[in-house]
């Protein structure tokens, strides 16, 4: 979840409230607050990943005030401008969407500049998915000659000095040499042409989403007029970020000049308010009681929404940045939160309806087998994810590999359980003998014939003491099958994990269901075990069909 750290006192001053006394308001906006007074810091963790607008302190302040019944008005206004960006059709499959605005006479001090950079970073990295879906560029308005062209450029044909460097590089060189180029090159992998923003004097503004130019793409405390531009592969994300960033400047009292986007003709993005119609019956049903229109109005106002009513519908008008309002239910949740989860009285009116519960087949069998096994053996719980090394040491097929393991102890799925039992045993050198263990659980083998993959439920048993033999294992196996009422036979078998002549296939109705045997000394040695060990492992799937 995205988190932002702020200067505690400064944020309190800006929000105009004591954070600690208003934690319930932050909860309603799904923000977890972590205050570190010693370092004068406050950390906000945003749980709702679809509301990146809350990263902006200006918007957060508005939302919080609304929740407390107060209203903040924007001091700036949205205006259209005479300038526009021409978009190259060839960008359609590369990075087609672009929006921009500019603001004039901005007072940029160090603080505001670093805040802008932090916002730009978290929006592009987090919400924009490491700049892939959307990214942001800031430019010095006074160094740009309009109109700007957004083109699909040949990687070798254009050269410029990127931010943070002194030499002029081609686009391809930037991807190989520049720190940001290396980091974000994956986004442009496979494309023959790259996106490029270039002005009418042939000065390059930036190479989105990689890096700005050192010339016009550098904003400092000296910059007066700023262009803000967003490019991306998803229109919703680009629009959303536009509304977020423009709201920031509007709240600070700057007029926002929207730049036109020319594909065939020039269009201006207006950042319309978000409107949603909701069936009043749905509101009542989910609340569990009839909610009055007055109350709906009041609850909606806490989320800055205006309501009007038309027959049995309520029409909600939200601020333009509320892209998370996708359907009726999103509005209803806002109303529920505004009403307060604490204010709902738990109601059991529906639980009177009584039904019979039942266990899955798998757990019915698990219980039966476990109750028999634990009359003489101790149950253990090893993982389904295991290390290849364990399987290799036990001389069984290695399981299906995980493509992105976190450690070599968990890099594949077990194909049998008994290697895990040998592994567990190797960690228990000083435990009192005899040791008898069992585990029931899933194993995975590649087998196309099984629906939902290649999973089966296995029972593995392991016994170890200074004088354990095959006979002990066979006695325990017989005990189990006798009590299950199943006849089995043992057939001679060869298996790499077991001593030759002391291993057998377990057959039920002439079908193979598992094996039993005495572990080979070389295998014991691999696990550093110096006592004899006997094992049986059974695929319980044949029972699934019987139950």
């Amino acid at each position: 979840m995205p988190t932002l750290t702020f200067n505690f006192r400064e944020v309190e001053r800006y929000l105009g409230l004591k954070i600690e006394k208003n934690l319930h308001v932050f909860e309603k906006l799904k923000i977890e607050v972590d205050i570190d007074k010693k370092n004068n810091q406050v950390r906000f963790e945003f749980k709702d990943v679809n509301r990146p607008e809350l990263f902006i302190v200006e918007i957060l302040a508005k939302e919080i005030k609304a929740m407390l019944g107060k209203k903040i008005k924007d001091r700036g206004k949205i205006k259209t401008s005479e300038f526009f960006i021409e978009v190259d059709k060839k960008l359609k499959y590369i990075r087609p969407y672009i929006l921009a605005f500019y603001v004039k006479n901005v007072k940029i001090n160090e603080e505001f500049l670093s805040y802008l950079i932090q916002i730009q970073e978290i929006l592009a990295e987090n919400y924009g998915r490491k700049r892939k879906i959307a990214s942001i560029g800031l430019y010095d308005f006074d160094k740009v000659k309009w109109p700007i062209r957004y083109i699909a450029a040949d990687p070798e044909a254009y050269k410029f000095v990127p931010l943070g460097m002194h030499e002029s590089l081609t686009l391809r060189q930037i991807l190989k040499k520049h720190e940001k180029g290396i980091k974000y090159a994956y986004i442009l992998e496979g494309f023959k042409k790259y996106p490029l923003l270039i002005d009418s004097s042939k000065n390059i503004l930036s190479f989105p989403p990689i890096i700005n130019s050192d010339y016009s793409g550098k904003v400092t405390t000296e910059t007066k007029n700023i262009i803000v531009e967003i490019t991306g592969i998803n229109e919703v994300f680009v629009n959303h970020i536009f509304t977020i960033l423009s709201s920031l400047f509007l709240a600070r009292g700057y007029d926002v000049y929207v730049v036109g986007i020319k594909k065939k003709k020039v269009n201006y993005y207006k950042g319309e308010e978000k409107v949603k119609e909701v069936d009043l019956r749905k509101i009542n049903n989910i609340f569990g009681f009839e909610v009055s229109k007055k109350m709906i109005e009041n609850l909606a106002s806490k989320f800055l929404a205006k309501v009007s009513f038309k027959k049995d519908k309520a029409i909600f008008v939200y601020p333009s940045y509320r892209y998370d309002i996708m359907s009726e239910r999103d509005v209803i949740e806002d109303l529920l939160i505004a009403y307060g989860y604490d204010n709902f009285k738990p109601s059991f009116d529906y639980l009177e309806y009584s039904q019979k519960g039942y266990l899955s087949k798998k757990h019915t069998i698990y219980r039966k087998i476990a109750s028999l096994m634990n009359s003489f053996a101790e149950e253990v719980n090893t993982g389904i994810l295991t290390g290849k090394e364990v399987l290799v040491n036990a001389k069984v097929d290695k399981g299906i590999s995980v493509l992105n393991p976190i450690s070599k102890n968990y890099d594949c799925l077990r194909s049998f359980i008994f290697p895990n039992l040998l592994d567990l045993l190797s960690y228990n050198k000083n435990v009192q003998m005899p040791i008898k263990l069992f585990e029931i659980g899933e194993v995975i083998k590649e087998n196309k014939n099984v629906e939902s993959g290649a999973e089966s439920l296995h029972l593995a048993y392991l016994a170890c003491s200074h004088n354990i033999t095959f006979t002990n294992a066979k006695q325990d196996l017989e005990f189990l099958f006798r009590n299950l009422g199943i006849n089995f036979e043992l057939e001679e078998y060869q298996h790499n994990s077991f001593i030759e002549g002391r291993v057998a296939k377990i057959m039920v109705d002439k079908n193979y269901v598992g094996f039993i045997g005495e572990i080979r000394p070389s295998v014991l040695e691999a696990f550093h075990i110096f006592y004899p060990v006997v094992v049986f492992e059974i695929d319980l799937n044949f029972l699934l069909n019987e139950e």
């Binding site: 709702d48 990943v49 239910r329 019979k356 087949k361 757990h363 090893t382 994810l385 493509l403």
Partner: protein, 519 residues
């Protein structure tokens, strides 16, 4: 008077009880103990080894007949040179022997001894006034005396001896020898001594009343021959320690999970079951998580490549694709949806359950007019996440997952159920609900419990979004369908329940821990 009488009776009873509890060995030892024989004497008399006797004496102490005293003692014994000298003679003896043959000799001529030994030998012999040195030559003064055994020699022959029991002369000899290299050493030992308690004699006397030997182990022969009728049983010390045994035992964690299953069955929940390997479609797409969602990256979900086929029926595939493209406005990729993963959340089971039962749900909805529950499902799902393992994170764990399918159910109904379930499983007194965000529920709730003044987040819940339910049910969907969904981090609750602080213990390889933990 009365008191004394009772006291006397009690004592008799006590004597009898002890007498009947003695084993044959203990009786044998007792015979010597009452005579206050020292331990080494008992060894001689009984022909038993010291450890056996000590063990029996410990039992006698447990039965309050004797009191064992442990006394640290020092034993004077031969060291490595001492052993050699005892065999070959002390240096002074060797020197005397040489002088007996040669009358006199110069120091440099003595080859049998080293310089240190010669000095020591001369020193000792001078003390005894047996030799004299003139112009570098040694001469014996008194042959008759010199042939006699030296006190040192006698001392060495009698070792080992207890240091404290040495006579004044012996102590002097010892001190002299200790100054010389490696002749003597002093070992520290603990000697067992004992005090015979007054009752011992009475017990010993009582033993003569026991004519027949006591029955130690009741055998089939004793039962068949009815000899038990004439004999008495030896009393066992019921308080004595016995060796530990370990039998079969359920795993505490799996046992807990089984009890949770039992509770849900009582509430009428049916258990859902499906594979651990799923594809992205059922786990994410069907749950309205867009393909660019962060949970769908390598850092959050385990991906696998295997020849395993998981079906996505065309109808549901088309509906899911449509809703994603309409609502999230991106190009939905079937290829991505088919990627195989290890299920990272139990909610995939709920999605599959809704799809598999869509026709039946449709029939229910057709007839539903007022608030009703159709069916309830649950699962304790093993899930996987590529998290680095530490005291509070596992890479493989369990989630308790469930849905309640019904018509016109309310948010209050959801909260009521969550409160009841959470309290029952966690034993917490207070459950706290807060707004939360999940991609597949709206509204969403975070569930926390308050325990020992600490707030612990234990799960999440909500009402499935229409964007989830509609594509899964297709033509069978009808307005008013409400699916309450919830998930509890059951592993955290196990930790609270068993008062453990490290989540790794749920998968521990430490067998002793498993043997010792209460179920």
């Amino acid at each position: 008077m009365i008191n004394i009488k009772i006291g006397k009776k009690m004592k008799e009873k006590e004597v009898e009880k002890i007498a009947y509890s003695l084993s044959e060995r203990e009786k044998e030892i007792l015979k010597h103990v009452v005579k206050e024989e020292p331990l080494n004497k008992i060894v001689q008399l009984t022909n038993l080894d010291e450890t056996t006797i000590k063990k029996a004496m410990l039992f006698l102490e447990n039965k309050k007949i004797i009191k064992i005293k442990y006394k640290p003692i020092e034993i004077v014994d031969l060291d490595k040179n001492g052993i050699v000298y005892l065999k070959n003679g002390l240096p002074e003896r060797i020197l005397v022997n040489i002088l007996m043959e040669k009358e006199e000799t110069s120091l440099s001529e003595i080859k049998e001894l080293n310089k240190q030994e010669i000095n020591a030998a001369i020193g000792e012999l001078k003390k005894l006034d047996l030799v004299e040195i003139e112009e570098g030559k040694i001469k014996i003064k008194n042959k008759k005396e010199a042939i006699k055994k030296f006190p040192q020699e006698k001392f060495l022959e009698e070792l080992p001896k207890e240091k404290d029991k040495l006579s004044k002369e012996e102590t002097q000899i010892m001190e002299g020898l200790l100054k010389r290299k490696d002749i003597l050493k002093i070992d520290k030992k603990t000697e067992i001594d004992y005090e015979v308690l007054p009752i011992a004699l009475e017990v010993y006397k009582y033993l003569s009343h026991i004519k027949q030997p006591l029955i130690e182990t009741l055998t089939p022969e004793i039962l068949k021959s009815k000899s038990w009728k004439k004999r008495k049983f030896k009393y066992y010390d019921v308080k004595s320690k016995v060796p530990k045994v370990y039998y079969g035992k359920r795993h505490f964690y799996l046992y807990f999970l089984d009890r949770v299953r039992e509770k849900l069955l009582q509430y009428g929940f049916k258990e859902m079951e499906n594979g651990l390997i799923v594809n992205e479609f059922w786990n994410f797409d069907a749950l309205f998580q867009p393909q660019h969602h962060m949970a769908r990256e390598w850092s959050d979900t385990y991906y696998i490549k295997a020849d395993i086929f998981i079906d996505i029926p065309k109808d549901v595939l088309d509906r899911v694709k449509k809703i994603h493209e309409e609502k999230w406005k991106y190009h939905w990729s079937e290829e991505k949806a088919r990627n195989l993963i290890l299920r990272p959340q139990g909610t995939v089971l709920s999605a599959l359950t809704l799809y598999k039962n869509s026709k039946r749900i449709g029939e229910f909805l057709k007839n539903a007019k007022e608030k009703t529950v159709f069916e309830k499902y649950f699962s304790i799902a093993r899930v996987f996440r590529p998290d680095v393992i530490d005291a509070s994170h596992l890479t493989e764990f369990n989630q308790l997952e469930g849905i309640i399918i019904g018509y016109n159910l309310s948010f209050s109904n959801l909260l009521a159920w969550l409160e009841q379930l959470t309290k029952e499983i966690s034993n917490a007194k207070e459950v706290i609900f807060k707004p939360d965000y999940f991609p597949f529920t709206e509204p969403s709730v975070e569930i926390s419990i308050k325990q020992n003044n600490k707030i612990l987040e234990v799960g999440g819940a909500g009402i499935f979004r229409e964007e989830v339910v509609k594509p899964l049910l297709g033509e069978y969907y009808k307005e008013g369908l409400i699916v309450l969904a919830w998930g509890l981090g059951i592993d955290r609750l196990v930790l609270t329940k068993y008062n453990l602080s490290d989540i790794r213990l749920l998968f521990t390889k430490n067998l002793q821990f498993l043997r010792d933990i209460k179920i």
